[in-house]
Symmetry: C2
Subunit: 293 residues, 2 copies
């Protein structure tokens, strides 16, 4: 695996088709799954590692974000990554950036409503990575469904010659969607955190049995969240991230909650025929907890 | 010369280094100069021809914009263009675009203040062309100095791997900066239109003789514009397009006026040592007027 610290060096290392996996580091099995998919579909896998200050709406969240370069580089190498792009802040932002990529419409509800500036920060850095690294494909997790809708839309709107490949959510054995933030959930709150996915799965079961009413599906998930600080539960159209009254097109049922001081998001992808993608459960403890008491 | 109607076809035609000249068509010697510079600096010259609805703040201006594909294609071929990118509206905007590239700070004064939405439209379509066509260099006229500052900044901020090459303004023999809009200036208003560049040149002379005070330079240009509808005359820093009180760094002195119902912009580039780039005068009548009357 080669490590490149500049866009130019990174581009100079590429041969054949390139699959990019953008990350903020502190990898878990969700990232490794994206890399293995990129490995299958391309001649070379490129992964980026950059904790982007632009997309953190809370300074405390940015500061608390775990940074473990050696660990991440080792995991990437094991996962078959050919090129690791690990830019400095100076390479990413040689001067104070004044340009923002703003995706209207898709980014105002749900995550956009609760994290001001977050999506413009993500859209801008994703545009930088796609325009500056010129991959053929880029791999994103379905867990960030609204972000995924935004990324797909911006590649169309900005004519970026890249295919965005959505990949299923990977979950811990109790159903909790993998996130680098999971290590911050207090042990006593784990059971409550696991209820998030249980509620979404219950709603997916209801859809499988024929239910198409958005409010009924949302309420089915909400029932599992009693006593939890819920920011939203929403059925949304997959392409536009707009609230959906009826499951009559590709959609996702998404939620955001705060448990033990940690903000968690999760979703299930629902099809109008009632089938769903609920993600994949790990059979063992996540690598997130290696070295954590 | 090959003509491509899609981004993908255009990219497939490239060999070696590519110099891009983006145009809205109805070419004049200013465009041809950009193409000859692109010819010298690259293996292949690509030109784009698209009248971008996103950047017209006035529908009447968009509708009135002259469209003459056969003429423009002939001129491009003569200028040595290898690949002409002539996309349909459907190729540029397969769905209603909701993404905008917004460059803060540089776009609020001068043109930005007088043409709401214009710069976001230009920034967005330029990003599409640079990201989608992946040229090595792109050629822009110094006449649109604020636009040029914005384009240079957005390529840095979005990590676009392209070099922006500013090229001197080409002027008609009476000094009027070439613009496709010049053909709409009523004959009786030509003398007044020619006063615009005379005022800028007078200010440049003053700078050459040692004057550095921004207001004095602006007033020198304004003296020539008595009786003309002036939107602004401003000395601005070249990199940031911010108003400059003193000519103590690379700058441009820019103006926008309305004459005979036509909006005209012009500028001279000034260095802190008093030298200037006032552009180049044509010796004969511009090709703009071939076939007019």
């Amino acid at each position: 695996m080669k490590v490149a610290e500049t866009f130019a060096e990174c581009r100079s290392l590429t041969e054949g088709s390139i699959g990019l996996v953008p990350t903020l580091g502190y990898l878990h099995e969700g990232h490794l799954d994206l890399m293995s998919r990129a490995k299958v579909g391309n001649d070379q896998v490129m992964a980026s590692l950059f904790v982007n200050p632009l997309q953190f709406d809370e300074v405390a969240d940015f500061d608390a974000y775990p940074r473990q370069f050696e660990r991440d580089a080792r995991l990437m190498k094991q996962a078959g990554v050919d090129i690791l792009f690990a830019p400095s802040v100076e390479e990413m932002y040689p001067i104070e950036p004044v340009t923002r990529v703003v995706v209207g419409g898709l980014t105002e509800s749900m995550e956009g409503a609760h994290r001001p500036g977050h999506f413009a920060g993500v859209a801008t850095v994703v545009t930088k990575l796609l325009a500056g690294l010129q991959p053929d494909r880029a791999y994103f997790g379905k867990k960030d469904a609204q972000q995924l809708a935004m990324v797909i839309r911006l590649t169309v709107d900005l004519s970026l010659p890249v295919e965005i490949v959505p990949c299923s959510t990977i979950r811990e054995s109790d159903g909790l969607a993998l996130s680098s933030r999971n290590i911050r959930i207090p042990a006593g709150d784990r059971d409550r955190a696991a209820r998030v996915s249980k509620g979404l799965f219950a709603a997916a079961e209801l859809a499988a049995s024929g239910e198409r009413d958005g409010q009924v599906l949302e309420r089915a998930a909400l029932e599992y969240l009693i006593g939890i600080d819920v920011e939203y539960v929403a059925l949304a159209e997959r392409a536009t991230a707009q609230r959906l009254a009826t499951l009559d097109r590709p959609a996702f049922l998404a939620t955001a909650v705060r448990i033990g001081g940690v903000r968690l998001i999760d979703n299930v992808w629902l099809e109008p025929n009632g089938t769903s993608d609920r993600g994949t459960l790990l059979r063992s403890t996540s690598i997130l907890y290696e070295g954590v008491n």
